[in-house]
């Protein structure tokens, strides 16, 4: 009886280990520890002129457009950065450990941030710095919460001073202070996990 129990226990242990390995091998996701690659890279064609951003970007996420240069979240950054011209300031931050640099380009009224994946940089965020720039839909820092509601409609989520519109793999965030927009941010959700 004792021997049978031992054999059964061992068989069970081995079966569990085998099953666990199989379960792991059969997993759907490739479990490599690295930054998640963007779902779609816009590539060099990302820097395009657009007359009607709202229609063009419907369903694909909100897009920031500055002087004809279109900035999609998770688009490859090199062409966009080249099209935007010389930044007024540039800063790069290495992560504590991983290779590659998060880069921050500051232009007139906004900051463009990028994150590295597989040797290339992709757009992770556009942060408005002042009221010299506006979203393609015509909203800028200093506008009222009422205008925000009129232009963008019901948000995906709200919390405290934050109004958020999620579309595709990006988020357009408005931070309010005393009923007025204090900050506008286009954020890649793919980059946020980093």
């Amino acid at each position: 009886m004792k021997k049978t129990s031992l054999s059964k226990t061992l068989a069970l242990l081995l079966a569990v280990l085998a099953l666990l390995s199989l379960a792991a091998c059969g997993g759907s996701g490739e479990k490599v520890i690295q930054r998640e690659a963007p779902a779609e890279s816009a590539g060099p064609d990302a820097a395009l002129t657009s007359e009607n951003a709202r229609e063009e970007t419907a369903g694909a996420g909100f897009v920031f457009i500055h002087q004809g240069v279109r900035v999609d979240m998770d688009a490859e950054a090199s062409a966009i950065v080249a099209a935007l011209g010389e930044p007024s300031s540039y800063f790069e931050a290495a992560s504590c450990v991983f290779e590659g640099l998060d880069k921050m380009y500051t232009y007139g009224g906004f900051e463009l941030d990028t994150y590295p994946t597989d040797g290339k940089d992709y757009v992770s965020a556009v942060i408005f710095r002042d009221d010299s720039v506006a979203t393609p839909e015509g909203v800028m820092i200093g506008d009222s919460a009422e205008k925000l509601q009129q232009v963008y409609g019901d948000p995906s989520s709200t919390a405290e001073n934050l109004v958020s519109y999620q579309a595709g793999n990006m988020e357009l965030r408005f931070i309010l202070a005393d009923g007025v927009i204090a900050s506008i941010e286009y954020l890649s959700l793919a980059a946020e996990g980093d």
């Binding site: 021997k3 031992l6 054999s7 061992l10 242990l13 081995l14 280990l17 666990l20 390995s21 379960a23 792991a24 091998c25 996701g29 490739e30 479990k31 490599v32 520890i33 690295q34 300031s89 540039y90 800063f91 790069e92 931050a93 290495a94 992560s95 504590c96 450990v97 991983f98 921050m104 500051t106 900051e111 942060i127 919390a159 405290e160 001073n161 934050l162 965030r173 931070i175 202070a177 204090a182 900050s183 941010e185 996990g193 980093d194």
Partner: protein, 351 residues
Amino acid sequence: MTGEKRKSRRLRVLLSAAVVLLSLGFLQRLLSPKYSTELIEGGLIREYYGEEKDHDLIFIGDCEVYENFSPKVLWEEYGINSYIRGSAQQLIWQSYYLLEDTLRYETPDAVVFNVLAMQYNEPQREAYNRMTLEGMRWSGSKVRSILASMTEEEHFLDYVFPLLRYHSRWSQLKAEDAAYLLKTRPVSHNGYTMRLDVRPAENVPEGRILPDYRFGDRAWSYLEKIRLLCQEKGVELVLVKAPSLYPYWYPQWEEQIEDYARENGLLYLNFLEMGEETGIDYSRDTYDAGLHLNLYGAEKLSRCFGRILQEQLGLEDRRGEAALAARWQEKCAAYEADKQAWLASLSEENA
């Protein structure tokens, strides 16, 4: 079945099981990252267990401790025997459980916690979790730390059997995986990782506007747990903000920490505001534009901090203890050798 046959069958089963388990163990060891020459930060936590555990001072925190404070300077100049239990993006609950873990082995006079980690209220990223958690020895503290740290995509069982997580790493195996299959190499100097290159801090951006500057409830609860654990064990808790210029340390954050320290009678030092005392020159003392200090900066900071620790906490100068001094003599030699290797490699690069 005769007794002999039964015995033989039992032996075969045991042998088969042993072969399978050994093979799985070998595979697990082979496929798991070694953190010995690449991503060395993943090797920091495990190194502590090989130490003689009679430290006066333990640091807990993220890269702002293991890149900015030099235990060697604290020893050489003040006779303080210290160790850094830090890892990359070490979240506050990971620091708490590492403290719990450390106190199983020793009771230092003081614990230093770097408060930047208060900014995170939720689990962040698996790769960082793994570098902190995999190096911990199994204990209740490790289990609780894993459970507190896992992102939605992670599974507890993957920490118990890392093979489940790393089975697909076979195609990425490098020379390091063979070289350090059985034994790893030291990656730090009492938890400190050294850099000697220089990159001046320029154009450091100001912080973005945040919707809410209050630290999260979870972060607060773990800070309180750290304080209470230290109190229970009779350990002095010191809060610090290392002089890293980025990520941005908001005045609103500073105010909350100052209030907490005052209310609880804790020593809090914000080294960002102590430039005169530390003497840090951001054009020479940082290797990555102000995020972390290089060796020159870390030694300046440690010199300043050691003086404060002696004056305010009265930490004993132990340089007269023969056995400890002998251990540190070896450690200082290894530190110096590492420094010379860095200098040689930099001069080669510049040649």
